[in-house]
Symmetry: C2
Subunit: 414 residues, 2 copies
Amino acid sequence: MVVELISVGTEILLGNIVNTNAAYLSEQCALLGLSLYFETAVGDNEKRLEETLRTALGRSDIVILSGGLGPTQDDLTKETAARVMGKRLVLDEHSKARIEEYFQNSQNGQITENNWKQAMVPEGCIVVDNQNGTAPGIIIEEGEKAVILLPGPPGELKPMFERAIYPYLNEKRPETICSVMVKMCGVGESAAETKIKDLIDAQTNPTIATYAKTGEVHLRVTASAKDEKEAKKLIKPVLKELRNRFGSCIYTADENVTLEKAVIDMLRERELTLTTAESITGGMLAARLTDVPGASEVFKQGLVTYCNRAKRKLLDVKKTTLKDYGAVSEKTAKEMAKNGAFITGSDICLSLTGIAGPDAAEDKPVGLVYIACSYNGKVTVQEYHLKGERAKIRESAVVKALTLLRECIMADGH
Amino acid sequence: MVVELISVGTEILLGNIVNTNAAYLSEQCALLGLSLYFETAVGDNEKRLEETLRTALGRSDIVILSGGLGPTQDDLTKETAARVMGKRLVLDEHSKARIEEYFQNSQNGQITENNWKQAMVPEGCIVVDNQNGTAPGIIIEEGEKAVILLPGPPGELKPMFERAIYPYLNEKRPETICSVMVKMCGVGESAAETKIKDLIDAQTNPTIATYAKTGEVHLRVTASAKDEKEAKKLIKPVLKELRNRFGSCIYTADENVTLEKAVIDMLRERELTLTTAESITGGMLAARLTDVPGASEVFKQGLVTYCNRAKRKLLDVKKTTLKDYGAVSEKTAKEMAKNGAFITGSDICLSLTGIAGPDAAEDKPVGLVYIACSYNGKVTVQEYHLKGERAKIRESAVVKALTLLRECIMADGH
C-alpha cells in the first residue's frame, strides 16, 4: 500500500516553521510498513493544492494532508479535498457540539461565526475527534483510495494520529506491524552496524533499522504478523540476540525512555543520590537530568563552576592543581568529582571540564574533555576527543557523562 | 521569478531526519523575494526523481535540489539532473584536485575509487566549491531555466548557499533585497501585532513579517531596491519607527544575536558579573548563558538547588521561609537571589523556582513560577503563570528570567 504526504501551509514555504509533521508522519508510515515515495509541501492556494492532490491520488492509495483546517477563509484544505473527491460539505452535529463545548471553557476564547466552518465535513466521511483543538480530523474513502485530513498544529496532529489514524492504517494492512526501539549508549554507529551486519543482511521479518543520535545508537526492530501477539513472538528472539551482542550498552527497549530517564531510574532503584559539577557543559547535564519528572528524588543539586575561582571556592579544587595541570585536566576533573560528592553528601558526583571552542585554551585543542565520576568514594576519569562545533561538543559531553555514570554503577556489580 | 525545492533522500521519507534544509532554503528564498510554491521530498530513486524534476521544471524557473551528491551508487541526483537537462558528465580537474587535498588531511579518512565520482560534473555547468566536504555544488543553466544542486548535510549546504548561491540568485533578480531581523522580548505576539497593525496594513516596501518564538517576537523588515545602499535607506526609517514603538523591548537588530548573547554583551559592557540560582529550570538558564562563547567573562558560576535542603545549604534560604511559604513562593525566590549574589560575590543573581509539572505541588498549580533578580543589592521578584507542558514551561521560564534581568539593568538607568 502506497501512502503520500501533502503538507499544506504558506508558513512552510516561507520557512517560518520546520516541517516536523512530515518527519513524524513519515516515521509512522515506515513503522506501519507502508511505502512512501513522495512528500509535497504546498501553500494555502486552492489551485495548486488541487493539482498536488490529483497528482498524489493518481500514484498513491492513501493521501495524508496536514494543515489548512483552521476557521479562516485562508484555510481551504477540506473544501479542496471534498471537491476533488466529489463530495458535498454537510454540517456534522457531533463536531458542532464539540466546538461549543470547547469554547465553554473560557480559557479558549470567544466563539466566532468562523468556527462553525470547522463543523462542516464531506458527506459520508469518517469524522475523527480532535481532543486538543476545534478542527476534527477527516477520512474520505472512495473506491480503493482514501484521503486523510489532519490539523496542522503538532500538538493536535500527533495525538490524533496515534489514537485514530495509526489503528485505521494498521487495519487496512493485510498484516499487523509491531516494533520495539532498542536504545544504546557507549557504542558507535559503525561499530554497532558491524556487530549486527550478519543479522541485517539476513533479515526478512523482523527487520532491524539503525538510527544514529548524538552519542547514542537506536535500533528499531519491526515485525509483521497476522496479529500483535504473533508479531511480538517474532521480535522476542531478535531482542534476545541483540542483548547477547550489546549487553549493557542497551539501556532500554522502551520507545519513551530517554537516556537521562534510564539513568534516573537506575539511581532510584539503587537509592543513590547524584550531584553534578559542570564546567564545559555549564548546566546542560543538570538541565537534562531535571527534564525527567521526579528527578528530584535522586538529583538534589548541581554546581556550575565555570571559572577557576568557582572551582576552587565551590569545589575545593586545589590552586596548585589548576596552576600545574590547568582547568582542563584529568586531575581537575577528579578533584571536582571527589569534592563535589563530599561537599554535597551525595553518593555520586559527575564532573565535566573541557574546551568547547570556538577557541582553544591552555594550549589544549577544542573538543578535549575530561569527565570524572565519583561513586562511593572511588573516582573514575575518562579523556575524550569530541568532534563538531561548540554546541555539538557540549551535547556529546553530556551523553558521555551519562554513559560513564551507567558504566560505573554497573561495574559495581549491581 | 519562481523557485522550487526538491529534497532528495530516502532518509527523509523514512522520517529518520527532519528536513531542516527545506526550511532554511525556503526562508532564504523568501528573504530574496523569490516565489516558492512547491517543495517535494523524494527518495534516492532515479525514475521518481526524474518525474519530480521534470514536473518542477515545467512550472518553475529555478529548481534547487539538495542531497544525493554522495560518492556511493545510491547517490544519483547529479546523474539524473544532467540527463534531464541534456548534459554529459565530464571530469572537473579543479574538483578532483580539491578532493585529493581534502583527503590529504588524514582526519578525513582514506580516499576510495568512489570519490572520483564526485569530481564528475555536467558539461558547461558552474561548479561551486564545497568548503566543508567533497561534493561540489553545481549550477546547470539552460535557456531561461536553472537547476541548482546542493549537498545534503546542513553543515555543507548552508555555508555553500550563503557564500555562492544567495549571491547568484540575488544577481538574477531585477532588484536587490535587504532585510533586518528585529528581535524583542517582554512583549507578546498579539500585542506586538496590534501595536504595528497600521504599519503592516499600509506596507508595500519595506515589508514587516512577524515570527513568534518562545517568549520572544521577531520582526523581519525586508526592502527591495536597485542596490543594497538604497534598500538599507528604505529600512532605516522603519527601524526607527519600530524602536519608537517598542523601545527597550528590542534587544537586537542583528540576525545572529540571541537573547542570551545580548544579555551577556550587556553585562560585559557594564562589567557586571552574574550568578544563577535555579530550581525549576535545573541548570537550563546556566546552560543557555554558557552557549555563548566568552560567557565566562561575566558568568562565573551557577547553583542548581533542586531540593529544599540544597536551597538551605547552598543558598541559605531560611528553614522557616520554606516551611511557611513553600519552595515555590515569592519569598523563597527573593532569598535565593539575594543570598546567591552575596555568597558568590556576584553583582547579579537570577533565581527561579516554580512548578514544571506534570503534577502540581504544595497545593500550587503547574506553571506557577517566581523569578527574582538581585541587582546591586536590590531584589525584584515577579510571579508568572506559564502555559504548556513541562519542557515548554521550563523553556519559557528561562526566557522570562533573561527578560527580567534586562529590565532590571535598564531600569537602573544604564
